[in-house]
Symmetry: C2
Subunit: 454 residues, 2 copies
């Protein structure tokens, strides 16, 4: 690309842009300039990921992260910072291994991760023939006699045809969540699934599974990389293959933990606007995109309001939720507490789709409110944020839906997220500074509009 010939016109001179209040667009630019030039979010993320690293609920690292969040919220200029108590489940992985072999072959290790919340083999080898199915339909056709005593392998691939990879994730998600229950009910010894991954590599992805209440056997479930899954399916077409699983993962009850909250007090009233992410992560990688990004972006919004001297009408509150990944206890506790305290909330947004360039904001609110937010679209267009049609909200703020709080979630570009989501590869190096900051810009701008207009 050469410089000389590039002519860039002001954005959207015609087409679907129409006039917007000048004062709003000036404030949008102030927020953007402040964040793109002076942000501390990227260095905060480096600090969180490199000096604390992954931080599963119940771990010592998570507790360290709560102290870190208190400190960062104070540095950002919060008027009040506190920890909110919440009981969280304690799940521990421990040592684990998975090997496969042909009938007369030797054991060969596979890259694997037990799924979160799964029971393990209590350190004993569990060995059985692998029975392969492509999907649930095929599995449902199998009689119990063909499943009993076997290790069931689901090779359901991520559907590359979806443009938004979140849709492929939802589509394949049922295998991660429920396959252990399906197979356990038919007497299987364990389950292997293909990782929920948009990349074709051999990196296993963990993530939450759950047992049904009526499960009599809680059988182990593990994920393997997409490449291993393809090779295994191919091999199974011509021969019997056996697997040997040894894992120590288990639930270890509950523990007192904390969400971390910081706010700048409203100048007009004490009703609350929430901007949030979740502080916990899975126990692999560094939890950089998921959801270190959402945490540092939320803190950045508070810092920016303070730095620009914006006289916020309502209280702007950053919530760093505990335990999104395997329980959503932080989110549930928060909704319960505000109900008890009768604390009025006028809006909540979460960033939990990774620190990628923002493309839009998903909305869960009344049709009238939604229409109002969509009427602000043209203010956002110069910042590459154009899409306000998705209808979903952050997992941690969802529990506020029943309280009638208008909810939203930042919608970043989805193409790279599920390459590294819930893996050892979700590291600081995978986050681009400007992409991360633009997410904070979009949230800051939206909160400014909400604070002004609601």
């Amino acid at each position: 690309m050469k410089t000389a010939l590039i002519k860039i016109l002001p954005l959207f001179l015609g087409g679907f842009l129409f006039a917007q209040p000048k004062a709003d667009s000036i404030q949008f630019k102030n927020i953007s300039d402040e964040i793109l030039v002076n942000s501390t979010a990227y260095e905060n993320l480096r600090d969180l990921t490199k000096n604390i690293g992954h931080r599963l609920s119940g771990s010592a690292a998570y507790e360290k992260a709560t102290d870190w969040a208190v400190q960062k919220l104070k540095e950002a200029g919060a008027d009040k910072v506190w920890k909110e108590e919440v009981m969280v489940p304690v799940w521990e992985r421990g040592k684990e291994s998975l090997q496969i072999k042909t009938e007369n072959g030797t054991w060969k290790p596979l890259n694997m991760l037990s799924l979160g919340n799964s029971e393990g083999t209590k350190g004993k080898d569990v060995e059985a023939e692998i029975i392969f199915v492509k999907n649930r339909e095929d599995f449902d056709k199998l009689p119990e006699s063909q499943v009993k005593g076997k290790i069931v392998f689901f090779n359901y691939a991520f559907n590359q045809k979806f443009i938004n990879t979140g849709q492929a994730y939802v589509d394949a998600g049922i295998y991660r969540r429920s396959a252990a229950s399906w197979a356990g009910k038919k007497g299987a010894k364990a389950v292997m699934i293909r990782s929920l991954s948009s990349a074709f590599d051999d990196v296993p992805h963990t993530g939450a599974m759950r047992y049904d209440k009526d499960d009599t056997a809680k059988i182990p479930i593990v994920a393997i990389g997409a490449k291993s899954a393809e090779e295994l399916e191919k091999a199974l077409k011509t021969q019997k293959i056996f697997a040997k699983l040894n894992s120590n993962c288990t639930m270890k009850g509950e523990k007192l933990s904390h969400s971390v909250i910081g706010e700048i007090t409203g100048n007009k009233d004490q009703s609350v606007i929430v901007v949030s992410g979740h502080l916990d992560s899975w126990d692999v990688g560094e939890g950089a995109h998921d959801d270190g990004a959402g945490i540092v972006q939320s803190i950045e919004v508070l810092r920016t309001f303070k730095k620009l001297g914006i006289k916020n009408n309502h209280t702007i509150r950053v919530v760093c939720f505990a335990n999104e990944e395997n329980g959503v206890r932080g989110g549930n506790q928060y909704a319960e507490n505000i109900q008890k305290k009768n604390e009025k909330h006028i809006f909540a947004i979460e960033s939990d789709g990774g620190g990628f360039t923002p493309r839009g904001i998903a909305l869960v609110m009344s049709p009238e409110k939604k229409k109002e937010v969509q009427s602000w679209r043209n203010l956002f267009l110069p910042y590459g944020v154009y899409h306000f049609e998705y209808e979903y909200a952050g997992t941690d703020i969802e529990p506020m839906k029943k309280l009638g709080v208008p909810l939203a979630e930042l919608v970043p570009d989805s193409q790279r997220y599920f390459d590294i989501h819930h893996t050892s590869e979700d590291t600081f190096e995978k986050v681009n500074r400007r992409e991360l900051l633009l997410g904070a810009v979009a949230m800051g701008q939206l909160i400014w509009m909400v604070d002004e207009n609601w």
Copy 2:
């Protein structure tokens, strides 16, 4: 992020979407599905970058790349493939080094790259005091006496406030292009500039410079990393600093080279639609985003039309241009040839902004044609392509503007491009498979519309 709570509505049910012809949207999906599932573009890019690597005009690697392109166009199903002769300048870097020291200190090396087309020091040490200026305005104020015999250091930073980093690149580009001429005219010995980089690291970025016709002295110009530049500016505030440059880069005349062309013949007429990128790259890194991406995307469009059995009305021609980076000879020669042959061209698009998720398509054409393309916007929205308001076209197809050919350029997300543009970091690993493919999807879809309607 959990799966259970995500509800994704069909895109743009309301708002700025209105009905589009059903047949078009079906063909859009066919093209998208074919590319996202069966594309060879990503593996082609791996092959080009890993087995050939960087490929500056005039180098042996570039000639190897032309054979590679012929082969890949044949594999993709082109009806005709040929090489088009073009004379290209031969610029060679050779060994180079830059050191700095304080008056009584010792020499310390800096990461550096000579700019493309620059003359070097003919292997001799050129040593002088560094004189620092922030920008052109400051430089213009300096009398000749203060510049003469010095090495001028311009520390003009990439402006982070622009949302589209291409604007920051244009803004800072004049220093790369012209600073050697400004300083040469005042008798300086050499010029150092801060790299045109959106990242704050110590990776130097090369790129084309040019001497003015009236330059009596062609003085060397080199780029240093943004971090080194900041440190150097700081150090210069308190002390004198000297630089020692030794470089061998020089122009070595011209050489016969080739652009590579492949096409599928039109079924209705022989008028031509061009889809293109440039095959050459700078002599560092692997030329992955710039512009291996554009090359494999263009070939992918041809492969997809062939694979889907689309009966194209017009000839669809892939052009892999020679010498974009330091001469645009391929593009100029192509425009000259089609004029000579009186070959009617109805449309040309280039992809030369990196293999990132597409956001739009820039248009250079009559207001009527532009309006027509913009009226197709809603077909593109489900693919994340929404922006048709930029007015620029690929450097290599620009020479066709004077022939009245409607031109376009793919507009990928710009956030990461100038972190790695023209550096050792522009490697295959920096390209995401799905992002790359979606660029090919958008170009294929647009070409389908043009082929049907023009």
